[in-house]
């Protein structure tokens, strides 16, 4: 469906993309992650046929977007960042306009619009001006606009930014539903969104692709933490330092921090581990030392941590960030 090869883009002196290549097969829902100014929006703008790349090619269904932009735009529904809409238009007129410009034949237009309106739940606001709508409804109008011509590919640039939690859940549900029949590329700052909606994650940083995997596999094999709560089996008073040094000697443990216990007579620790599972050796060590494990909780490295690691800590990097408008996360 999408084939991007060696895509670069520079705006004057700043390089937004430094050679991005990837492929997306039909039917996949891909999450695009990256700090502000990493090149997510630029990649999407190129795919959508709004911006021309400096070099490299982007193909949608085999059509090069810079060679035959009109043909490729037929296949795409695009929701730009910040969801720009013609504020002074009525929702109905706006969708009518989009359907007409998208070249839907007159006899099928009403039906296509009705379909998009029903899917996005816009029936109640059809006669309202767009500037009167709440953010959630605006976002739905943006989505309706993108699906009115029933495109194969949906490009959604930060579709849930600035929405309240209820609206986020609604929009996410809608995207999931659309993802069952269409190829979807969406960019976001919210990592849980990727985990809940996408079957694949692309992480982009500083104009380069730094990760490409399934969301649940990202960060696998990189270890994580085990939180334990310990008590003495004999009822003896536990010495924090003694227990700590015992835990440090358990095979596979790379670090020990004190954590909350569960009241008197118990101690809590957070253990870091590398690639191998430490729970078994932890249990054996506890038995040897007459300790009782009240709780063992393992956590893999989260997508957040992987993201921060891959994109260099605080995220924003490079001179591009001044251009990026502030976004509510």
């Amino acid at each position: 469906m999408i084939r991007i090869e060696g895509l670069t883009k520079s705006y004057g002196a700043t390089q937004a993309l430094r050679g991005v290549s990837f492929e997306v097969p039909r039917g996949q829902v891909v999450g695009f992650l990256g700090p502000n100014g990493a090149g997510k929006s630029t990649t999407m703008k190129i795919l959508a046929g709004f911006v021309t790349p400096t070099s490299g090619t982007a193909r949608v269904n085999g059509i090069d977007v810079s060679v035959d932009p009109v043909a490729s735009r037929w296949l795409i529904g695009y929701l730009p960042e910040n969801n720009p809409l013609y504020e002074e238009m009525m929702v109905r007129d706006f969708l009518d306009f989009v359907a007409e410009v998208r070249g839907i034949p007159k006899d099928r237009r009403a039906e296509r619009i009705r379909n998009a309106v029903d899917r996005c739940g816009l029936r109640a606001v059809l006669g309202k001006d767009i500037h009167q709508l709440s953010k959630g409804y605006r976002q739905r109008v943006g989505l309706a606009q993108a699906i009115v011509h029933d495109p194969d590919l949906l490009i959604l640039d930060e579709p849930t930014t600035g929405l309240d939690p209820n609206q986020i859940v609604e929009i996410r549900g809608l995207i999931k539903e659309l993802g069952q029949e269409k190829t979807v590329i969406l960019s976001t700052h919210i990592l849980s969104e990727v985990q809940s909606t996408c079957s694949r994650v692309l992480i982009i940083n500083d104009g380069r692709l730094v990760a490409d995997d399934a969301p649940e596999r990202l960060g696998k094999g990189e270890g994580g933490t085990v939180t334990v709560v310990l008590a003495s089996r004999t009822g003896a008073l536990l010495q924090t330092e003694a227990v700590r040094s015992m835990l440090e000697r358990v095979a596979g443990v790379t670090g020990v921090e004190t954590a909350e216990g569960e009241g008197s007579g118990t101690l809590g620790f957070r253990l870091r581990y590398g690639a191998e599972d430490i729970r078994r050796s932890l249990f054996e060590a506890a038995v040897r030392n007459d300790l009782c494990l009240l709780e063992v909780k393992r956590q893999h490295v989260s997508l957040e941590e992987t993201f921060r690691k891959l994109t260099g800590g605080e995220g924003v990097r490079g001179p591009q960030d001044e251009k990026t408008p502030p976004l509510a996360a």
């Binding site: 705006y11 703008k45 959508a48 046929g49 709004f50 911006v51 021309t52 009109v70 043909a71 735009r73 037929w74 795409i76 695009y78 730009p80 910040n82 720009p84 809409l85 013609y86 504020e87 002074e88 238009m89 007129d93 306009f97 989009v98 007409e100 410009v101 998208r102 070249g103 606009q145």
Partner: protein, 239 residues
């Protein structure tokens, strides 16, 4: 073609949804009306001459006021991204916006039709009102308007700011209006060249009631240049 008309229709409607349309057309009509009625009542002449002779100056201001928001506003609000990612060619977007602007001017001109009608009704018994110059005058106004609008559209595409778009458009239109006004002090060959470039000079020819291909060609090519420049500028927005 259909998509161009869709863009034009949307633009035309949204123009009349905003107060700017009514202010611009209102001011135009007040000034044009004053010019006309002052000849009728003050000078006591039932004539359209004053109206047609001053119309070019009016259009220097009127045309960029109509076009100033056409691209600048969309650039500022971000809807241009939406429009330019639709399956449209850039020239179709430009043509749609241009047609909408021409439609707006036509609406403005429509309201001046009572002037020739009153003049015709005031014609003395037995004499016949000559509609030729009037029809030609209106045709000339539309031709002149289209060249000014094309220039104004380009001015609007250059900046994200409507006011900047208006001022650049005003300067461009004014330059094409004013260019032959000091031709008499220059050598004849240069004077003729400047005259040929003057929007006003060609309008005067048409308003006399003669439609020469040279005048027609001048307006059409100036319009084409303005539209081509606008299309180019839109292409640069994509860079």
């Amino acid at each position: 073609m259909e998509t161009t008309l869709a863009v034009a229709r949307r633009e035309f409607r949204s123009f009349f949804n905003s107060p700017v349309a009514y202010i611009v057309i209102g001011v135009f009509l007040v000034v044009a009306g004053w010019l006309y009625f002052s000849t009728v009542f003050v000078a006591g002449q039932a004539s359209l001459r004053a109206f047609f002779s001053i119309a070019p100056v009016l259009f220097v201001v009127f045309a960029p006021a109509v076009t100033m928001r056409l691209v600048a506003e969309e650039r500022k609000s971000g809807t241009l991204e939406l429009l330019l990612s639709m399956p449209l060619r850039d020239w179709e977007v430009v043509a749609g916006k241009f047609l909408a602007a021409l439609g707006m001017v036509a609406v403005g001109l429509l309201w001046t039709l009572p002037y020739p009608l009153t003049v015709a009704s005031l014609t003395a018994e037995g004499a016949r009102f000559d509609w030729g110059p009037v029809v030609m005058g209106y045709l000339g106004l539309l031709l002149m308007a289209s060249s000014f609008l094309a220039l104004g559209l380009w001015a609007s595409a250059i900046s994200r700011n409507q006011i900047v778009g208006f001022i650049i458009g005003l300067l461009l239109c004014f330059a094409f209006y004013f260019i032959d006004k000091f031709a008499m002090v220059l050598p004849e060959s240069i004077g003729e060249l400047l005259q040929y470039l003057s929007v006003d000079y060609h309008f005067a020819n048409i308003a006399r009631g003669v439609l020469d291909t040279r005048d027609l060609l001048f307006y059409l090519s100036l319009t084409a240049v303005g539209l081509a420049l606008t299309t180019r500028t839109l292409g640069n927005v994509r860079q």
